[in-house]
């Protein structure tokens, strides 16, 4: 716990100092990396913790992006628009969660995948609001500076990671994990599974909503395909599984590895770098199904822990 906190503080400090020590290209890369951390941790909250694999979390990112862009154009300040983007994505997630979380396993995953397509189709066809396939170009005069976007993204990444850290230490987190392990048995020991799942699902939409808006300001242009991006769904899943689902640092590690490999190889191997990432994924799933973090985590020493001693005292 203390180690996690110290490590987190050091990382945040380094990230906060980054704008001083980097050029715009490097800062852009770090922004994208932090964006993926924010998204992966959000996905982790519902899918990593409860095992309900969402293949459509980009829908909240897309809704957030459009909300942020439209409100900015309408004259709202960028930070108010980010807040609204988070709120609207969450408000949308509540009824969706109530409906889709009745489905299990692949059915839920496919329902979410379909939902992302619905989002993209609506954004394409509702031309009056979204300008359809032409997309929305944001005037540079309205946009916050790169550094501002960077700090906003850093804030979201920290918030999402902190949320996982807090939830993991609570009874709520334990209940979510019990749902992942055996939902029927969880319900049989007093876990209100429906309530827990819907809360986790709605909470997992907050950050993607806000992140979508910040992304719109960062790129200054969005269209349906770039924000309701099917590949984004796959990336969230892949990065979390790579690092270790349902853990605090797994998603961070997954994002850093994938983004770094991509950054180091795409210029040299414009097409091959995707194959490289695919091969890495396959290797990890084959040999480390619990993610890379499972290697670093030290084995629990049976019998040697203070907990066992405390247990013996209580048992007497």
């Amino acid at each position: 716990m203390r180690l996690d906190l110290s490590l987190g503080l050091i990382l945040v400090l380094l990230a906060a100092l980054a704008p001083v020590a980097t050029n715009d290209y490097q800062l852009s890369f770090l922004l994208q990396l932090l964006l993926m951390v924010a998204l992966a941790q959000s996905w982790n909250l519902i899918s990593g913790m409860t095992g309900y694999v969402s293949f459509g979390h980009a829908v909240f990112f897309g809704v957030g992006a459009y909300t942020g862009a439209l409100l900015l154009v309408a004259g709202h300040s960028w930070w108010a628009a980010v807040g609204w983007a988070a709120l609207i994505a969450t408000a949308l997630a509540l009824p969706i969660g109530l409906l889709t979380l009745r489905l299990h396993g692949p059915y839920f995953a496919i329902a979410m995948l379909g939902l992302n397509e619905v989002g993209r189709t609506v954004a394409t066809l509702w031309v009056d609001l979204t300008e359809g396939g032409d997309g929305i170009a944001l005037s540079p005069a309205l946009l916050p500076a790169l550094e501002t976007n960077y700090y906003a993204t850093l804030f979201l990444a920290v918030l999402a990671t902190l949320a996982i850290g807090v939830v993991l230490g609570t009874r709520f987190g334990l209940e979510l994990q019990a749902i992942r392990e055996d939902e029927g048995a969880a319900e049989m020991v007093g876990v209100n599974t429906t309530r827990d799942k819907v809360i986790a699902f709605a909470a997992s939409a907050v950050i993607p909503g806000a992140a979508g808006a910040v992304y719109a300001y960062y790129t200054s242009f969005i269209d349906p395909l770039s924000v309701f991006l099917p590949a984004l769904n796959i990336q969230m899943v892949a990065m979390v599984l790579l690092g270790g689902r349902g853990t605090l640092w797994g998603p961070v590690i997954g994002v850093v590895i994938v983004m770094s490999v991509r950054e180091l190889t795409w210029a040299e191997f414009p097409t091959l770098h995707l194959a490289l990432l695919g091969a890495l994924m396959i290797l990890v799933i084959l040999f480390l199904p619990e993610g890379i973090l499972s290697v670093l985590r030290k084995r629990r020493g049976p019998g040697s822990t203070r907990l066992a001693e405390e247990c013996r005292q209580q048992g007497e």
Binding site: L174, E181, M188, P302, T305, E309, C311, G315
Partner: protein, 245 residues
């Protein structure tokens, strides 16, 4: 004395299409008793547990727990009322530690949950496994942990579905001692068990279920001597076959 009854089913039915798994079961569990439920395979024992515990919500009739109707409630609501159950096959949470397995079953906001959990684990001498994952335990240990888990809410009634099946003799001994112990503390128990020595030793009264109906009830010796019970278990005897033909 009506108050003496903690669980009562009245005319409980459960149909699966054309199959009537429960055909109007009337059963009473008296407070602080250890009541046995026996019957041949497929007689509806586990279905009865499924319906009473809320896992199967397709039942008709009446189920009263502490005089309160519970048919139609969700399993977690029934659990929090004080009615807990274990499963026929172990359903310990494999990716959670032993301690976590117990903590998640405690009452929300219970500050003494951790102490209680450690006390229970210590009682069955699983301390060296307190931090082990559920999946790392032997099958017998898993069953024991599953049993401890439902004790976390201090239930008034526990339904045990063949708790000793697949458990080695040492752990089985610990298990039965624990059943006696919690019963001594006032917890009522309804237990499905195939080992007749255990039933004879622990249970009074005993209900016999056959093809979805209660065919006999009473203390073990009465039930054992009942011709309908013999027929259900061993088929129609030569002599009775002779008298009916």
């Amino acid at each position: 004395m009506v108050d003496d009854i903690i669980l009562e089913t009245r005319g409980l039915r459960r149909d699966f299409g054309g199959v009537q798994a429960l055909r109007g079961v009337n059963l009473q569990v008296h407070r602080t008793s250890i009541t046995g439920l026996i019957g041949p395979n497929g007689s509806g024992k586990t279905t009865l547990f499924q319906v009473v515990s809320g896992m199967d919500r397709g039942g008709n009739g009446k189920v009263l727990f502490n005089d309160q109707p519970i048919l139609g409630l969700r399993p977690w609501q029934i659990y929090r009322l004080g009615l807990a159950r274990t499963f026929q096959l172990s359903r310990v949470f494999p990716g959670l530690t032993v301690l976590q397995n117990l903590l998640v079953a405690g009452r929300p906001g219970d500050r003494g949950a951790r102490k209680r959990a450690l006390g229970l684990i210590g009682r069955v001498k699983l301390c060296e496994h307190v931090n082990a994952l559920g999946s790392e335990l032997s099958y017998g240990q898993q069953r024991l942990v599953e049993f401890l888990r439902v004790l976390m809410c201090n239930p008034a009634l526990i339904l045990l579905d063949e708790p000793a099946a697949g458990v080695n003799p040492t752990l089985r001994h610990i298990l039965w001692e624990l059943v006696r112990h919690i019963n001594g503390l006032g917890t009522s128990v309804l237990i499905i068990e195939h080992n007749m020595n255990v039933i004879a030793d622990l249970c009074d009264p005993v209900y016999v279920l056959n093809e979805g109906e209660i065919i006999a009830q009473g203390d073990f010796d009465t039930v054992r001597a009942d011709p309908r019970v013999l027929e259900a278990y061993f088929g129609r005897t030569q002599r009775s076959g002779g008298t009916t033909s």
